[in-house]
Symmetry: C2
Subunit: 249 residues, 2 copies
């Protein structure tokens, strides 16, 4: 199995394209590949190709695009994970895991109990960092699609984003057993498999009662068993469970 690299400019056999800096470094410094060696590249939008290293100097690598190559299939249901930003490394782990399991996009939101302010999320370039993690996870799990990390938003913007279809409906808000909200189990959720959906997962400490109230006109509340899930595990458990319900597995 050849190493996989993200090459956003790859789209046609025969082209010679440059790799982004991070990818070039991975190729030259970590894997120490030389001119002529075979690799696989994917453009992040669903196409993958066999390729060969055409030139390789530290952060300047070009590859020649060969034949189309197979990548891991995308999920039949396009789930946008709407994740309340978690502390430190935990949000990184959620992004990594969500990409691995197969979400289509990630919308970070700053909710009341998020312990990071929106200004701080923007100042610290966390969005760029999460996007790099998404690339890295796509490389490992075999996808040719890199899920987009959307601009972080405050919780209050959610209704508008759903109304404007900038986030897909139906929107399912995961609530904890302790939340005492009138929530449905997945089997009670019923219905056919949608083409797309938003899944809202909360911060450590969960949603506030106000947030639940604000979300009610747009969201259906769902719960997963009676055991309390860690904040950084909710998205993975919920996406896996929804994929099973929606015939992805």
């Amino acid at each position: 199995m050849h190493a996989r690299f993200y090459a956003p400019d790859a789209h046609a056999t025969g082209d010679v394209v440059s790799l982004p800096d991070d990818e070039a470094e991975h190729l030259t410094r970590v894997l120490r590949l030389k001119v002529g060696e075979r690799v696989i590249v994917f453009n992040g939008r669903g196409q993958a190709f066999d390729a060969a290293v055409e030139s390789a100097r530290r952060r300047a690598v070009q590859v020649r695009i060969g034949r189309a190559s197979e990548a891991a299939p995308e999920a039949r249901v396009a789930i946008t994970l709407v994740q309340a930003v978690l502390k430190g490394d935990k949000m990184d782990d959620v992004v990594r895991d969500a990409v691995m399991v197969g979400v289509t996009a990630i919308q970070p939101i700053v909710s009341t109990r998020t312990e990071v302010s929106r200004a701080s999320v923007e100042r610290s370039r966390r969005q760029e960092r999460w996007q790099r993690i998404a690339v890295s996870s796509a490389k490992q799990c075999g996808r040719a699609v890199v899920p987009v990390i959307l601009d972080p938003q405050p919780f209050d913007a959610l209704g508008g984003l759903l109304d404007q279809r900038r986030l897909p409906s139906p929107a399912l808000m995961l609530v904890e057993p302790a939340a005492r909200v009138d929530a449905l189990s997945l089997k009670e959720l019923g219905g056919s498999t949608p083409k797309e959906a938003s899944l809202l997962t909360g911060p450590e400490g969960g949603w506030t009662p106000d947030e639940v109230r604000i979300a009610a006109p747009w969201c259906r509340f769902v719960t997963l068993g009676g055991r309390t899930l860690r904040g950084d595990a909710m998205a993975l458990v919920a996406v896996a469970a929804l994929f099973a319900k929606w015939n992805e597995y």
Copy 2:
């Protein structure tokens, strides 16, 4: 919400019981609780109680058992996770996550690609360590049951353990998309919800072709979508998906 402690001797209202050393330290040194304070204790076998601190000195804590208290419900399907031992902290994470999501027992196995020998697993008291992690995870997720960590076994013992019903059937072996084994998706698995099941999840690098061949008489092979899951995420994804299929969620 009062703090939860593991008190294996708790079984009747009115009794005064000692906490294990680790739990006593957690109560006195981390949470700094004093005599008279209210706590919740669970005995690891399904019972939880309100309780009050009766005496508290470092590693010597006694609690007086009060009324029965509610705990998180156990899953309707008792899944034994048969997990090939993963490197270092990753196995710790799998134990923690599997307990959180709701498995009933964990059977560590040493497979060909496990990078730890069985002798080393036994020598290093890893089983005790995993059992402590199971206690800690049960405390956090609200369960009154502490899943048992079974004695580590070599892969070749699996058939015998299943034949002797020391591991429950049906046994489902999770295989990777790259394994090219004739595996079923969950929807192809069909059938009714079992009372119990074994779920076999492999090491980094997956099962060897020999292991797949050896397992064939006992196991059904299942696969979860076409994306490659990390070794330390397989159990969580698979249990969540099986719970969704089996109407637990």
